[in-house]
Symmetry: C2
């Protein structure tokens, strides 16, 4: 087997993006709006996880959601039923949200009456990892059917995330997925990242995730 690198030149759009992200983060801090960038593969269960998470938070916080998708409004329609304020963002073919697109989304959503905003990023484990959107926290979902080897193939996503939800644990019996092997694969990338096995379908494991998230929001608001 030979091994070659076919593209070594990284576009410098990243630096410009980071500057816009920094400004947006400062603006959101000034408004006391906690933005969460939720990232995962297609079909990992982002929307189902989000619905259950919103329901667990909505008595305490006023919640907004930006649903980013290449096309369609199916996720936004699902989220709308929770009572959260929802906006659908079409990325016009782009495979990720960047800081400028997020800034425009935030302006369109309006944050005057919101405490917590979720950005459901485009289903993709590659590019969203490279683009800081100005969020307070980055949360990744990996689903059991995707396999416990994914940190080897998509290392940046596991490196930049602040927290990992391992979703669809209810299906673990039909897949050869080992949470310990996953954690071993994550260790060299992000040793202290909390990993929460959950099932967005049954609610299993959500207590730990919601406790962590509420604590992060509280700490951020205290220091803000």
């Amino acid at each position: 087997m030979s091994n070659i690198t076919v593209q070594d030149v990284k576009e410098r759009v990243i630096a410009d993006n980071d500057a816009v992200a920094g400004v947006l983060r400062a603006e959101l801090e000034a408004k006391n709006v906690f933005l969460i960038n939720l990232m995962a593969s297609p079909g990992a269960g982002k929307t189902t996880t989000l619905v259950r998470t919103i329901n667990a938070l909505k008595d305490e916080y006023r919640i907004g959601v930006m649903e980013a998708d290449v096309d369609s409004v199916v996720d936004a329609e699902t989220i709308e039923k929770t009572g959260a304020k929802v906006i659908q963002l079409h990325t016009g073919g782009s495979c990720h949200m960047d800081a400028d697109m997020t800034k425009r989304g935030i302006e369109a959503l309006g944050t005057d009456n919101l405490d917590v905003v979720f950005l459901e990023n485009v289903g993709n484990l590659v590019c969203p990892a490279e683009f800081d959107v100005g969020a307070a926290k980055k949360v990744m979902i990996l689903s059991v059917p995707e396999g416990d080897d994914k940190p080897l193939k998509y290392p940046l996503m596991f490196t930049v995330s602040d927290c990992l939800l391992v979703n669809k644990t209810d299906t673990a019996k039909v897949f050869h997925f080992e949470i310990d092997r996953l954690k071993e694969n994550i260790k060299p990338l992000n040793q202290h990242m909390p990993v929460f096995p959950v099932s967005a379908l049954t609610g299993d494991g959500f207590d730990e995730w919601i406790t962590w998230l509420k604590n992060e929001i509280k700490t951020w608001r205290l220091h803000n």
Copy 2:
């Protein structure tokens, strides 16, 4: 719910890419090398499908594989055991293969003793759909755990593909996946695309897919 488009401007890199792809396709035709662009989400089972497909073809055709990944060589090591000629391509952070990267991969692989080459694209349902790499056929894999609504969210991938494998049918009992609903969702995008339900784990459904593929290769070689 409000609905806005945050990015309408598509980069014109696509036009340049298509020109390179056209040249590469002509070169591969001159060499009688049938290139297949295999696309799917992370964890949809591209490599397992490829191993079983290679084993079904290798008595008849000399096979090469280009494994495109952001990082790691795990897939190439798996493929190598089939006896196929393998090269690992690192995309250096890019979320898709383009025609120029594919051309360089083909040069590094060498095609003098090959009849069929598989490009295992980066795990991603968005950008790989936009980039013609010069392949004779585009094959998409969707796995059952991803859900039957994916054509609504990633329409371009379903539009450009010549064939769809629906993998992990062995797990259908734990997911609410309906093949008929999937086909309904595909119909407005790509009415005549063949859809093969398979399990790369058990081999179920592979006969139909292999028959289709062998027929496509034979027809292509006859007209070439």
